[in-house]
């Protein structure tokens, strides 16, 4: 995985175009919403609901790109276009996604207090 956890240029652009205060509020919203999306991804996988799985991955990808979380976006995109994985492979992918999200959340929280 060569993509950075947070692409700072993207995040700076977001701050510049929308205003720093708004960008930080948006980070808060993402930090509230992303765990819901991750949980949704797991539930969809457990239920064998391919459409819901794809949609949850899609949302996560879309939001990750917004904040420059390019590695997370790339992983989510792979799940989006890859279809419903087998339980074992899917479990590994979503675990990896969770771990990357933890890094993103830590980085964004740090930026928030910077």
């Amino acid at each position: 995985m060569s993509a950075p956890t947070i692409d700072f240029a993207t995040f700076e652009t977001l701050k510049e175009t929308t205003g720093a205060e708004f960008a930080l509020e948006l980070v808060d919203t993402f930090l509230q919403e992303a765990p819901v999306m991750l949980a949704d991804l797991r539930r969809a996988m457990a239920a064998g609901d391919a459409e819901r799985f794809r949609r949850a991955a899609h949302s996560l990808k879309s939001n990750s790109n917004t904040f420059g979380a390019l590695a997370l976006a790339a992983m989510a995109r792979e799940l989006e276009i890859g279809g419903l994985p087998t339980a074992a492979a899917g479990g590994r992918s979503v675990d990896a996604l969770d771990q990357e999200y933890s890094r993103v959340a830590a980085a964004l929280t740090a930026l928030r207090h910077a």
Binding site: T17, G19, L26, T29, E33, K61, S62, N65, T66, E80
Partner: protein, 347 residues
């Protein structure tokens, strides 16, 4: 930061994802627009039907009613089908973009949406909408709702198709001498009242005025929108026209002005109906023997001293309730054989 421009508009953002919704709304507000948002297609359609919006920014992936379903509903909604839609999505696959455009979306922006690109696309979309609104306004003024509807549903193309319909010609008897005996302002005023009354009677019976020349009007019943009983509708319209002129004359006489008389000719049958002219200027009209006959019948009202004359085909299509009198066969210019002419009682 806020950039106020003259081109501010009322926009609706639809996205089920909160981060996307907030971000897009923020970007649009910074561009000076007034923005409302909805979290799915169903809520969006409710808002669109309730309030007026200039443009819709639509996400594709949504629960309840997704973007494709919203586009489909908009296309089939007469009130909303002209609303410009910009799709904002991160859908994978070019076939999805194609599908959006085919369903009538004006533009497609990939998420995350670049604010500069967003501004340019919205500007272009709103400008196009302004031109379309202007065009529609012109259309309302110069075309009948039927022709407008026909243009909107089938699109504009020169050329005609064979239809069965009734054609009516009408004019004011002795209009030229009347116009010469009074100031031009009075003539214009007279014409305006006359047109208003005649248009009302004609369109009230499903007819479409296709030609206005001085005091003369040509109207069609049964095209472009089919009318089942077009002959009877035309005759009923003619009777109403005569009646309205009668009422108008009461007013004129009270004002010390001479009464006006009208003559009406109606013929029914096959004709070619369609748009003639050039791609820049065209008019909806009908062509054929039936049309010529209607014009001849209208001319003949003067000699026959009757207000409404119809041909055999119109006569045959009428119900018993309409009182008709045969005037025998009349030789017309351009007709090899004499034509059976009937007079309709004005009621």
């Amino acid at each position: 930061m806020r950039e106020l421009r003259s081109g501010t508009a009322r926009l609706l953002v639809v996205d089920d994802n909160k981060v996307n919704r907030l971000l897009l709304t923020r970007n649009l507000e910074l561009q000076g627009h007034s923005v409302a948002s909805a979290e799915n297609g169903r809520v969006a359609l409710e808002m669109l039907r309730r309030e007026g919006f200039d443009l819709l920014l639509l996400d594709m992936e949504m629960p309840e009613l997704d973007g494709f379903q919203v586009l489909e509903q908009l296309v089939n909604d007469r009130q909303l089908r002209d609303l410009p839609v910009i799709v904002t999505s991160s859908l994978e696959g070019v076939e999805n973009v194609v599908r959006c455009i085919e369903l009538g979306a004006e533009d497609y922006l990939s998420k995350p949406v670049n604010p500069v690109l967003l501004k340019a696309r919205i500007g272009a979309s709103l400008e196009k909408k302004r031109l379309r609104d202007q065009q529609k306004e012109l259309m309302r003024r110069f075309a009948t709702p039927e022709v407008e509807e026909d243009l909107e549903t089938s699109g504009f193309s020169l050329g005609g198709k064979l239809v069965r319909a009734s054609v009516m010609f009408s004019d004011i008897r002795g209009f030229t001498s009347l116009a010469e005996s009074q100031p031009p302002e009075e003539t214009i005023e007279l014409l305006n009242t006359y047109y208003e009354l005649m248009f009302d009677a004609i369109s009230g019976h499903g007819g479409v005025v296709t030609l206005m020349m001085g005091d003369g009007l040509m109207s069609v019943f049964g095209a472009p929108v089919p009318v089942a009983d077009h002959a009877e509708s035309a005759v009923r319209a003619a009777q109403e026209m005569v009646e309205l002129i009668g009422l108008f004359n009461v007013e004129r006489e009270a004002a010390g002005k001479p009464p006006i008389k009208i003559g009406i000719g109606i013929a029914s049958g096959e004709m070619v109906a369609g748009y003639t002219g050039t791609n820049k200027r065209a008019t909806y009209t009908c062509i054929g023997d039936t049309v010529n006959l209607a014009a001849r019948l209208e001319e003949h009202t003067k000699a026959a001293q009757r207000m409404i004359l119809i041909d055999q085909a119109t006569r045959s299509a009428l119900s018993e309730r309409v009182a008709v009198e045969s005037l025998g066969a009349v030789p017309f210019r351009g007709k090899a054989t004499a034509v059976e002419v009937f007079a309709v009682d004005p009621n």
